[in-house]
Subunit: 225 residues, 2 copies
DNA sequence: CGGTGTGTTGAGGCACATCAAGCCAGGTGG
DNA sequence: CCACCTGGCTTGATGTGCCTCAACACACCG
């Protein structure tokens, strides 16, 4: 249970890995993958499961910077040492890619460099849109846009769909810059607005995708009861 | 007045531009450089002055995503069209770089691709740290870390230094996700803590760099009077 | 001289944090 | 079997940091 669909787009969305000597690694839930300060000599491509990328502060507060799903690459924005911690949210498999190998290969096949730049571009866009989410949006807008972005990763966009949400309220809170209580209250609010329901724990049923998206994009005034 | 030091590291920190057919463009304060939705066919390297990168929302609110200083590249994270607006904060000069030319050149000289990836990496790091600033920090911590990051761009880090701050309170507020009043109040608070002073408008004198940095890094409890 | 843009300061309100209590499911041990 | 604990989640009461609204100081300019 709680297991994310394995890469539905086939073996790997990222052609670089197929041109390289790569390894595989299997993680159980909560197994660590990267510690902040480690030598950043590898990239990781998520094959199955969900990986949690986060920073812990001196005072114990935690900012989750990303949930990495199958097809995502971890470590692109890292120079010599990693600036974050990283562990498995669920059972997961990742492909390990040596950065040294990768750079050598890119030298031989420049077109792969463009691919990597594109991946990096996407990561920049993601980080910037997270900035905006965290700064400009109200609590309910953050929760709504979080659910939307989960749904969008599942490709099959319709008006109604069920969504596996393997992360706890604490994970969501630390990703959205809220407390678990506020996350919980706003999920309840979305329920009472008939936009979603929770058939089982760890599952969200989206009734009205368009409305959820409008709320997440700040196009709805949700202050009324 | 209000003019930022021109690139003190010489002609260009970015070797790519020297290998390419590039153009130059001069902007007066408030001249636009990029409109959201434009074809993203160029990158821009700031030579002199400060460029403001921002998004405007349907409701008129504005999020400044970056202030670009000499040596910075604008447009790296953009696919086919720009997703932001961009104008000059001060008098500025930028080098225009055709993306098509650039890609062609990278194909011939793969080592430039690695350079670009590094630039992209830096941008990812910047965007992520902005996320954290916006989400985890109190108002005074945001203002302090903003001043610190301005000071760090000036390289010469000591315990005391004067800083040219060419942006208005509104710019700072829209960068930090605060209101102009809150920015003003917290600058006053930093003054009354004897960490900074304002010799003239547009100039900040940092008395205690270490303390400012500690505040910006959330290592100080500033709730007491 | 009034008009405009920028910055500062004060009073009050609101959204979210904090503190606290309780529900439910699952596990463990008597 | 029940008693008890634990972890995840929800809900309520209260506090607080920042926003909102408002007034004013100051420089610049036609």
């Amino acid at each position: 249970m709680g297991q994310i669909q394995s890469a539905q787009d086939g073996i790997s969305a990222w052609p670089v890995s197929s041109a390289l000597d790569t390894g595989l690694r299997t993680l159980r839930a909560h197994d660590p993958l990267i510690f902040e300060g480690d030598d950043a000599d590898h990239l990781y491509e998520v094959i199955e499961g969900v990986i949690r990328v986060y920073k812990v502060f001196y005072d114990g507060r935690r900012q989750i910077m990303a949930f990495a799903f199958p097809g995502d690459i971890i470590g692109l924005g890292q120079a010599d040492i990693y600036s974050f911690d990283c562990d498995a949210l669920t059972f997961a498999r990742v492909r390990t890619i040596s950065k040294a190998d990768l750079l050598r290969t890119v030298r031989e096949r420049p077109e792969l460099g463009a691919q990597m730049l594109e991946m990096a571009s996407r990561e920049i866009t993601a980080a910037q849109s997270l900035s905006i989410t965290l700064c400009r949006k109200s609590a309910i807008e953050r929760v709504a846009s979080f659910l939307c972005s989960l749904a969008e990763r599942r490709r099959d966009i319709g008006t109604s769909q069920t969504l596996s949400v393997p992360m706890t309220r604490a994970d969501i809170a630390d990703y959205l810059g809220l407390t678990i209580e506020t996350v919980s209250r706003n999920i309840t609010k979305l329920k009472s607005l008939d936009v979603i329901s929770l058939p089982t724990p760890g599952t969200v049923l989206i009734h009205d995708m368009k409305r959820l998206k409008r709320i997440g994009d700040c196009e709805v005034d949700t202050r009324a009861a």
